[in-house]
């Protein structure tokens, strides 16, 4: 097996796998002594595979969440949804390629879908700005949210962004304003909202469409108040310390579950969702449908109240004394 993209921590494993392939390509009838070597190597690879992937550090998960081959929003749209009708534009300024909004059907249920959209190659990523959203992207998502609310369509969001784009034009057009308005709107939607962390959850740009009545996280997806690199650069003046910082930020799916922010975790195959996406898609679909069915028929006002209570409960404070 060839990997198109190899992460740092995968390198020793890939070296062994490459060696094994070389051995196998030799004429074993001429070199019977290699059979034993191949057996040994196969076992070694199996063990290393297990140890490489079974207890990933936070930083390793961050890297996996960014893996270029990892299933993206577009893949989910194409596999777990049918009858997808993409809606474009914010009706104000532009059509941000870093956000996709659509009406779609999931297991027979009509929903609205908003997701961050990364590309799978350079060309796509340039068109989609590597999933980094401008204000018009958040406003595009807001348009979908209002449409969903108006017509009683549950909202499904797919989170996968390094963050809101930090650039001159984004600030000029009110990046903070767009995010804030999106958050306020999300809080008041009278339809069920299911958020799914499928990859990167980069700060405010993720949060703007990244929460709801239920937050489902993929095992190797992360969600963080700040990227580990930026955090390391602030705290240690050294972005190389990202791996160290990552484990402090409580950004993994497990951390989020423990903190009461995420509700459930979708397991991934060893090595990440891209190694075998089909069961992941299947599981994500089932989880979304199950949440939608659980919330079907709940009155709008009750949804909004419950969501607010849920939000109000997040945080750790001390009221005993100063």
């Amino acid at each position: 097996m060839r990997y198109r993209h190899v992460l740092d921590f995968e390198r020793p494993l890939v070296e062994l796998e490459t060696k094994l392939e070389e051995l196998r390509s030799l004429d074993l009838a001429e070199h019977p002594e290699l059979l034993e070597e191949i057996d040994r190597l196969t076992q070694e690879i199996e063990a290393l595979h297990e140890s490489t992937y079974s207890d990933l550090s936070a930083w390793e998960k961050v890297q996996l969440s960014r893996h270029p081959d990892r299933p993206k929003t577009q893949d989910y749209l194409e596999t777990i949804f049918t009858d997808v009708v993409e809606l474009h534009g914010d009706r104000l300024y532009g059509d941000d390629g870093a956000v996709v909004t659509a009406l779609a059907t999931i297991a027979g249920r009509r929903v609205a879908v908003a997701g961050h959209r990364k590309g799978k190659n350079i060309r796509e990523n340039i068109a989609r700005n590597f999933g980094m959203v401008h204000p018009e992207g958040f406003r595009k998502a807001m348009r979908l949210m209002r449409l969903a609310d108006k017509f009683g369509l549950p909202l499904v969001t797919l989170i996968d962004t390094p963050g809101a784009y930090p650039g001159i034009e984004a600030e000029e057009r009110g990046q903070a304003w767009a995010i804030a308005e999106s958050l306020a709107l999300l809080g008041g939607l009278g339809v069920p909202v299911v958020a799914v962390g499928i990859g990167e959850g980069g700060s405010g740009g993720a949060l703007a469409i990244g929460f709801g009545d239920r937050l489902i996280m993929l095992e190797n997806a992360y969600y963080s108040v700040i990227t580990p690199e930026a955090c390391a650069s602030i705290l240690h003046k050294d972005s190389e310390k990202a791996s160290e910082v990552a484990s402090c930020l409580a950004l993994t799916a497990d951390d989020l579950l423990r903190l009461g922010i995420a509700d459930e975790i979708v397991p991934e195959p060893l090595g990440g969702a891209h190694r075998d996406p089909a069961p992941v898609f299947q599981e994500v679909r089932e989880r979304i449908v199950s949440v939608l069915d659980g919330l079907a028929g709940v009155p709008a006002q009750e949804l909004v109240e419950k969501r607010y209570e849920r939000l109000r409960s997040i945080g750790v404070i001390d009221e005993s004394a100063g």
Partner: protein, 267 residues
Amino acid sequence: MPDGVWSKCEGCRRIVYAGQLADNLRVCPHCGHHSDLTAIERIDLLADPGSFVELDAELTSCDPLRFVAAKAYVDNLAEARERCGLAEAVLCGRASISGHPVVLGAMDFRFIGASMGSAVGEKVARAFETAVSERRAVVFSTASGGARMQEGMLSLMQMLKTSAAVRRLAEERVPYISILTNPTTGGVTASFAVLADVVLAEPGALVGFAGPRVIEQSIKQHLPKGFQTSEFLLEHGMVDDVVPRGQLLARVTLLIDYLTGGGGEAS
């Protein structure tokens, strides 16, 4: 520099005597530069004397992630409390402004950059809830470096919590006026700070989402002069006005008067 006697203005580099600066609301008499104020000075600027009664004064942050970087977060907190004489980076309370009952909030940048963690978010949300139940207008002076990263995702979620609290206020048609002061960036800008009915800003304040250094690193060029200032935001349609500190009380009073009258006669 001997504190309390004279200081060098950050705007024009001229020497200003402390008494003169204090008399002038800490605005440089030479160049008009607005120095940062503490939360308590912010409240004194707007609240009728003696009217401010703090809400949730005992509410403080914890260290849920046991966060340790160059320093342990618990030590940051202890040090900030000691130095600022505050339990947290925000003060909220009931007050009156020119006789109008309000909920008044102010942030203190000295306290870990007035970053928003669980305690700040909780205090802000409760302040808005008090305003809803008592139908008091909200006036909030913001300053912040953003989310408090030492509390990780708990901190990020406060953006949503406070924004949802503002939404409930808006639904009840209770007025909200915010005053963006230097600096207001990151998660506080991108949540309750800009969701007000009327957003004012102090002259020369740095206000934005991404910090200037982050943007410079991202776009690999220097930022234009005046970028992300209050005046820049006014030009780009993001704030209602840039108001010098000396006019702030009068402006806020008039705005509360307009927004609480319910269309009746002027008081």
